[in-house]
Amino acid sequence: MKAVLAVALRSAWSRRGTLALVGLSVALSTVLLLGVERLRSDVRENFAQSVSGTDLIVGARGGALQLLLYAVFRVGGATNNLRMESLEEIAKHRAVAWMVPLSLGDSHRGFPVLATTPGYFEHFRFGDKQPLWLAQGRPFSGDLPGLYEVALGAEVAQRLGYRLGDKLTLSHGGGEMPGAEHADKPFHVVGILQRSGTPVDRTLHISLQAMQAIHLDWAAGVPLPGQKLSAEQARAADLQPKQVTAALIGLKNRAAVFAVQRALAEFEAEPLMAVLPGVALDELWDVVGAGERALLAMSALVAVVSLAGLVAVVLAGLNERRRELAVLRAVGASPRHVLLMLAAEGTGVTLLGVLLGVLLLAAVIVALAPWLQSNYGITLTLSAPSAAQWGLLGAVIAAGLLASLVPGWRAYRLSLADGLSPRS
């Protein structure tokens, strides 16, 4: 047994070039398989971590998922707005502890701008009910003297190199229209938030009044001709917002969540909707799940192809090795030894390939994590394989073992039939 494995090792080493290529293909398919699984679980983790402590998200009636994506993840388009009056009424509901209105739509060099109240910094929670901390400075003040103040997410500050006191201007909409700049009303940076690993990192925070101020002389997405209001003139105008995009609501008692949700759905002044973040996330996973499974199935297929390649290579080499098998038979190796030798070769290549794949994936994660974080806000973490990943690893190795039995069995048959005189 040991003798056979030692000979198998030397034999494989003499064909290391071809086997290394096969091992590499196994490694790459392992990277793909584990990578997809890691990305899947990390994306879920990221999404689930993005909001906590918020019991309901309120918006105009429409798709629950769309509201969640827009209000929390700044993904997708705005739903209809809701009236500020309605929100003020909701805030008076006896079960509601706090209400934070959100107004979205503008951007700064690709990063979304969120207009809200200072209460946002007080009530918003992410991850395991963690509050937002400021790394430097303070939140925008929300009063008239501090009208043009902005607090930056960590990623915004880092990527664009802003420091406290810097001035910046906002673009109307997603910034896709040239000239749609609120250039006449610059903001200055008063705070930079600590990194949270959530969409907050990619957001610029201003007050609702500021949002109102920069749009005073705009209508329907374009500046009103001949109606320019300077930044100072704007301060004198009525800056109370009439409409917002959505609102986050915290309850005094979570048990009341369905009662409040129903009350909101039956709100008479305008059609409203309230969603539970967790429920909406589940809905998201239902939608995304099919895609994830397809991706995982594709990766599994790639793994199968690479193992088929392994079988093909070992099988193809077998004919040239019939002489080798006859020599082994002559010195006393049994057909079972021959089977073991071939199976060990395939299994060994699979094991090394999988190991290399795990290391490669670690390297890829280390290399790609900063880019993914800054471009997509997804935090990839380098950690020991999860249970699901161990399962996949085990499946690849088991499949490799099974696949290796194919050339092993063929060699067994050959050496039984050939005996000491290979007939090729």
Binding site: A326, L328, V331
Partner: protein
Amino acid sequence: MIDAAGLRYRWPGSREDCLVIDSLHVDAGRSVFLHGPSGSGKSTLLGLLAGVLLPRTGHVRLLGRDWAALSGARRDAFRADHVGYIFQQFNLLPYLSVLDNVLLPCRFSALRQRRAEAGAEALLERVGLGAALWPRPASRLSVGQQQRVAAARALIGQPELVIADEPTSALDAALRDSFVALLLQQCRAAGSTLVFVSHDERLAAHFDTTLALAQINRAALPEAA
């Protein structure tokens, strides 16, 4: 040593026996020259003697043991213990060194491992392979050197039977005679019985006994005639 009777063998899928031998007997320590043209069933007979093939009827006994009475695994172990085999050519595993090739049977047989002890080097010296060659990969030897390594491998651990299947057919005349002489001498020294197959009848004079396969194999008679 070898005792066979009533042998009939046909290859799987064939409808006619390719080997029919009424009786074959070789005493221990003898050297037997078995000659016959190609197609006379030499490889088949050697396969039967080495217990790699089993006859359809009849028996082959080696050291009093009937190959057919042993299980597959036991046959392989018995062969590893008691039989040394030399091929026509390509005897060696090209990825192993000369010394590792010679020691190969000892990996499969504890008995030969024990008998060989440290004798491998001395054996290599005796077949004319100096220490400088031992670590060399077998693929980098001349054909003559390769056959001598093969002889050393067949002889290591003093197996009772050494089977040589046309071991000189790839060698030129000068090498051929010295190889046969060497093989005979070493078999005698180890006390091994030698069954040497060749179509080259000029070699017959070196051996104790000569058998013409065409005569003892009745299945081959019509073709020979």
